[in-house]
């Protein structure tokens, strides 16, 4: 037999008071939004005496705010009304259900047998019909709520997800109104800063805001990385000044308080607008570089040497550069960083294309371990016209032809201890041929033969150096002006895969024997390069000494 009490209990458990309370909270919300629109209007009135282009821009912004706030108020009010309809229906259904169940409770004491069953069925049916009315109202008002579009977000537009194709991102940005762009920079700078393909000026605003925000909202590692990025940007201004470059042409193209690997953060800083420059050069630093290192000097010096007009350079630390420990002997940072570099360069090209700049001449330069990263980028679709490596321990391949079709240039100081220790082929897959070997197929350019061991590995971007002059010529596409290196100044012995005494062979031998490699990497290469920097020893001497 149908039990009307059960059906009634399901209806009676509703709390119209709670529904009304929720509606009331929304009403208060709508009132507060209305007050904010009034305050904004008052601000407009207070600015009546302000005229000019800035005042006009301000007025447009305020109008948009008032429009959005009005829509937000209307949305919340509509939601409030939906709640009120539900509450009213709930109360009406409850009143009718109360009458039905009261009738049932009276009749159940007076009726029995088939008559009772018929009555139960009839009253149960009536209660179910009431429940259906209520369910229909709930479903109808749920539809109303779901159709309410957030007001400010509607003005904002939807940001493409991370990892979107840079060309798609560039097209999306172009499709937005000025108002939408401005609003996005205020409300969605977190997501904008991580998108490849946006204009440099947009990325700069977004990433500087991200850095500022990270410095205050995080503690520990992330805050430290954000602080380091901020300091680095201050140093970038100094580096620009050292090269007579304007400080307002520095753009933060990317930043992360995390980054891959050891989570030491990433940062890419441009000198000059890469969206409009005819020549763009990307400098990739090597071992020991962190977000706290002054690594933008290379790019600043390069643009200074190239000349600011029509040229932009980018200091790119978008990978986990190894530190001077066992990680320097691993190509992990380079194999992971190479595709990241290729992707970012794709983003630079997409932004330039969207800006209407004819196809640019792009050069990617890797120093030290950075050259290994550039090599893996070349094997991962890097769209560069020229690739240059300096102080390279190897680029992952023994053939310049595998680096994506770019013209490949190799520069090595005669006394560079890293080249001598690695023969320029340590990070070559088969261990045979590095970029300083004629069989590799790179064009050897002149660097600075007279730099001693102490500074030879770190002198490639020095002001006044042959190396910097030639890198600038390569980056400017002035190939014919690049001076060739004399064979007498080669950093490795003639004969290609014949190493300098001890160096590469010893290093590789050590790598294959755990204990020895530990000595070599931490006690030999590390120590030797550091010693070399102090003008005390050479890697080769250190290496052979360790093995004795």
């Amino acid at each position: 037999m149908v039990n009307p009490e059960e059906i009634y209990a399901r209806l009676a458990s509703a709390s119209p008071a709670q529904i009304w309370a929720t509606a009331e909270a929304l009403a208060t919300t709508a009132d507060t939004v209305r007050e904010s629109a009034r305050s904004t209007d008052a601000a407009t009135n207070a600015a009546q005496g302000w005229t000019g282009e800035a005042a006009d821009a301000y007025a447009r912004r305020v109008d948009a705010i008032v429009d959005a706030a009005s829509l937000a108020e209307a949305n919340i009010a509509a939601a409030q009304q939906a709640l009120e309809r539900v509450a009213r229906t709930c109360e009406e259904v409850r009143q009718r259900a109360d009458r039905v169940i009261e009738f049932w409770r009276v009749m159940v004491t007076m009726t029995a047998g088939a008559g009772l069953r018929e009555l139960a069925a009839a009253l149960g049916g009536e209660l179910r019909r009431l429940a259906d009315v209520y369910n229909d109202q709930l479903r109808a008002q749920a539809v109303v709520l779901r159709r309410l579009t957030p007001a400010f977000a509607r003005t904002t537009a939807t940001v493409p997800p991370p990892g979107s194709d840079p060309a798609d991102v560039a097209r999306w940005w172009t499709s937005l109104t000025e108002q939408q762009r401005n609003l996005l920079l205020v409300t969605e700078f977190e997501r904008l800063g991580t998108l490849a393909g946006l204009p440099a000026k947009v990325l700069d605003v977004a990433n500087r805001r991200r850095i500022d925000a990270d410095r205050t909202r995080y503690a520990g590692r992330r805050a430290a990385n954000a602080d380091a990025a901020a300091r680095n940007l201050e140093q970038a201004v100094n580096n620009a000044a050292d090269n007579h470059l304007p400080a307002d042409e520095i753009y933060v193209l990317s930043y992360s308080p995390d980054g891959p690997g050891r989570k030491e953060g990433t940062l890419a800083v441009a000198f000059g607008n890469p969206d409009t420059a005819g020549n763009v050069a990307v400098t990739v630093p090597g071992t020991g570089t962190t977000i706290g290192s002054d690594f933008t000097g290379h790019a600043a010096n390069l643009r200074g040497e190239m000349g600011a007009e029509g040229n932009a350079t980018i200091a790119w630390l978008g990978y986990d550069a190894p530190v001077w420990d066992l990680s320097v002997a691993s190509d992990l940072g380079a194999t992971d960083g190479g595709p990241r570099l290729a992707s970012d360069v794709e983003g630079y090209r997409a932004a330039a294309e969207a800006a209407g700049t004819p196809r640019q001449h792009v050069t990617v330069i890797g120093h030290s371990y950075g050259s290994t990263t550039v090599g893996y980028a070349g094997m991962s679709g890097l769209d560069a016209d020229d690739i240059a490596v300096v102080g390279s321990p190897g680029v992952g391949t023994s053939d310049a032809g595998q680096l994506g079709g770019a013209t490949v240039w190799a520069g090595g100081n005669e006394h560079d201890p890293v080249i001598q220790a690695t023969n320029g082929s340590y990070f070559t897959e088969d261990g045979s041929t590095g970029p300083y070997d004629p069989a590799f197929g790179a064009r050897q350019f002149d660097t600075d033969a007279d730099v001693g061991t102490a500074g030879a590995h770190s002198a490639y971007y020095d002001h006044g150096s042959d190396s910097l002059r030639n890198l600038a010529r390569i980056a400017a596409g002035d190939d014919s002006a690049v001076t060739e290196r004399s064979y007498l100044e080669a950093p490795i012995a003639p004969g290609g895969d014949l190493p300098m005494p001890g160096a590469s062979t010893v290093y590789r031998l050590g790598y294959e024997h755990g204990q020895v490699v530990g000595d070599l990497v931490t006690g030999d290469l590390t120590g030797a390069v550091r010693d070399a920097a102090d003008g005390v020893a050479t890697v080769i001497g250190g290496a052979t000494g360790i093995l004795r």
């Binding site: 209990a9 399901r10 209806l11 009676a12 458990s13 509703a14 709390s15 709670q18 529904i19 929720t22 909270a25 929304l26 208060t28 919300t29 709508a30 507060t32 939004v33 904010s36 629109a37 305050s39 904004t40 008052a42 601000a43 207070a46 600015a47 005496g49 302000w50 005229t51 000019g52 282009e53 800035a54 005042a55 006009d56 301000y58 912004r61 705010i65 959005a68 706030a69 937000a72 919340i76 939601a79 709640l83 539900v86 709930c90 429940a131 209520y134 369910n135 229909d136 709930l138 479903r139 008002q141 749920a142 709520l145 779901r146 957030p150 007001a151 400010f152 977000a153 205020v186 409300t187």
Partner: protein
């Protein structure tokens, strides 16, 4: 002229102090109100049990929850937008004043050089 693609500015009038003391505070009040509205919206929750043990209770309660979350976040976004406008007004006031000071300095310097 405003809207002129050539970008030539033909003139402007401004009281930087009014921007700082009359305009910006009203915008900041609007920002606080929007932020407060966002907080209020997020308190407007409704458990499904308050709607009774009927079939559509869960659907409606979920719609309410989605609304307050989404629109509450939207109002926060609006508050940020207004805050940015207030900040820009204060910055503009400073820029106007700085421009004026620099002009004074230049004229003062010219006087020294001549005399």
């Amino acid at each position: 002229m405003p809207g002129d693609e050539g970008g030539a500015v033909t003139g402007f009038a401004v009281d930087p102090d009014a921007l700082r003391t009359a305009v910006a505070p009203r915008l900041l009040a609007a920002c606080d109100q929007l932020s407060g509205a966002a907080g209020l919206a997020e308190t407007a929750t409704l458990p499904a049990t308050a709607l009774g043990a009927v079939d559509a209770a869960g659907e409606f309660a979920a719609a309410v929850q989605a609304l307050v979350t989404e629109h509450g976040g939207d109002l926060e976004r609006g508050a940020l937008w207004v805050d940015d406008a207030a900040e820009a007004v204060v910055q503009a006031a400073g820029t106007y004043e700085e421009m004026d000071r620099e002009a004074v300095d230049r004229f003062t310097l010219i006087g020294h050089e001549r005399w």
